[in-house]
Amino acid sequence: MKSVCLVVALAALILSSCVSELEPVATLNINTDSLLAITTPIDSSSQSIVSGVYLVESSGNRFGDTVAVQCIGSIVTIFTVKGVVYFAMRGGLKGDTLLLLGYWRGVRGPQTGVAKFVVRPDEGGSDLANGKGNGKGLVLRGEIDVPESNQPEPLVLRKIEKAFERLRGFQIIAHRGGGRNSERLGASENTIELVQLAPFFGATGIEIDIQSTKDGVAVVFHDPTFTSRTVRSPYLIGNVSNYTHKNLQTVARLIYGERIPTLEEVLTATIDRTNLTFVWLDVKAPQLTDSIISIQKRAIEYARFKGRNIQIMFGIPDDDVLNAYRRSPLKGTVPVLCELDVEIVRELDAKVWAPRFTLGIQKELVSQMQKEGRDVYVWTLDDPAFMFEYLRDGDFDGILTNYPTLLAAIFRTRIL
């Protein structure tokens, strides 16, 4: 009898042992309408005064010693290296006082909370109202809700210098439209919803993945197959290319409930609803090469029509896509990003060379490519130690990462 009980207990253990639930991220109820109704949005000169590197003067070192503050339109964002946290806040000036309300969120865990900041008139608010000065010494005085306490925690930031900028420019490119599902960013990877959040994560560009449906529609999806990692519906199993676009529209929902978007929808939304300046099309369906290039050309024309400064690159990650591109009658009509050997990059006259980070910093080759008029982006750096090393010792024009918040914090504060 004893052994029977033991076996029953073991069976119960096996049945329950395969499920690993992630901690839920709290839903915040933040209404900025009343704040926006009584404040005036800060203009571009005030935005540059606010942006910069700030010293953390309180908060028990939760966010490290320095953080980067950046204005993305009227939204004020903060990026931290320690904890890998971003803030996104709306608000504006009421007289000589800047008022901000939003949230903070750790991208590597469930930590989140409401954040409120104020810049008093004598601590930089008057300079913001007048659009004068460089903002050095400006104090962002705030409080944040923290999960371990019912009391808000004070957070005081003092601007010490301008944010670092690279003369040639620098792209912080968010993988899969902003980051992986596993980071629980509040939106599924490769969706319009996530792409709209990407600038708040610190990204200046995105990489998106393109698969083909059964009827040859280019959709934005990373994996060739559906799994519980990416979709919620049990009816979606096996290859993406087994399903028609119409069927996907009807039944397919991603893990946060979004539809699987088409490439055209994502590019249009990126142009219309974000300030991102770079899109890397990671082509995983070589049979759609002509179709993808046509969509890319239309998007480039649309961006030009809208006056948007944005580069959209046809990515060539492997020999299958390379051969399809070589055979395409549309070859040479769109800018190309090539991940392959530099000789192929030259043959295609690719605008961007994108070597894998495991190939090393390759300083001479990178420099040579840049002299030839190409940008060089390295992929995919998620480890802070590698980010430090590649920023300090390399001279890349951009980095692809799943943690744009971390890269933005390291790059802009330049704490190398």
Partner: protein, 203 residues
């Protein structure tokens, strides 16, 4: 993890089947048996969420028809293989197409389990656990005309508890309840039904 649990299961089950030795039932005169079990069960399948945004529920009726072949030595533990056909769910939804025209879409998910099973049989009871894969197929039919399917496999476990009434020296009939758990997909099925067991070979 699972391997170590199974090893523990084997160790604790290695004691002789004293129940069998003490009984005078003619089918249990021999120490080793090969048993075949077939059964049919109705089930309730629970998905973690509604499977589509058009679905009304996340719980669906389904069926399982199975076959199990077990080798039962002179111990409480028996081992074998398990397969069959599982209909996890079948539903019909209505959605407009891109032109706004109503279309009826039938969706179903079926599976063929292929598992190694371990069971214990104290008295007339039997309970067991299966570990392996389910070969899944999703069918979609639009307006009873356009039909396509997609397949994949998923790891899963099954378990059951049954009671056998002896009908004949070598044949038993009895109720069985069971579970399918596909934890990666968050799918759980609870089943109830009947089964026939035949002692195919004794030696």
């Amino acid at each position: 993890m699972i391997e170590s649990i199974l090893a523990a299961l084997l160790i604790v089950s290695a004691s002789p089947d004293t129940t069998t030795i003490m009984r005078s039932d003619s089918s249990l005169r021999h120490a080793y048996r090969v048993e075949a079990t077939i059964g049919g069960l109705i089930q309730a399948t629970r998905y973690p969420d509604k499977p589509t945004q058009l679905s009304n529920s996340n719980v669906f009726p389904g069926t399982t028809f199975f076959g199990r072949l077990m080798w039962h030595p002179d111990h409480l533990l028996s081992v074998g293989v398990y397969s069959g056909f599982v209909t996890f769910s079948r539903e019909k939804v209505t959605a407009p197409d891109e032109n706004g025209v109503r279309q009826d879409i039938t969706l179903d998910l079926t599976g063929i389990p292929a598992q190694v099973v371990f069971a214990m049989q104290p008295g007339n009871f039997q309970f067991g656990l299966g570990l392996g894969v389910y070969f899944l197929t999703s069918h979609t039919t639009v307006n009873n005309a356009e039909r396509f399917s997609s397949s994949d496999y998923e790891y899963g476990v099954s378990s059951w508890l049954a009671y056998d009434f002896r009908l004949h020296d070598a044949i038993t009939l009895g109720p069985e309840i069971g579970l399918h758990v596909l934890s990666n997909m968050g799918v759980t099925c609870a089943m109830v039904g009947v089964r026939f067991k035949v002692d195919m070979l004794t030696y």
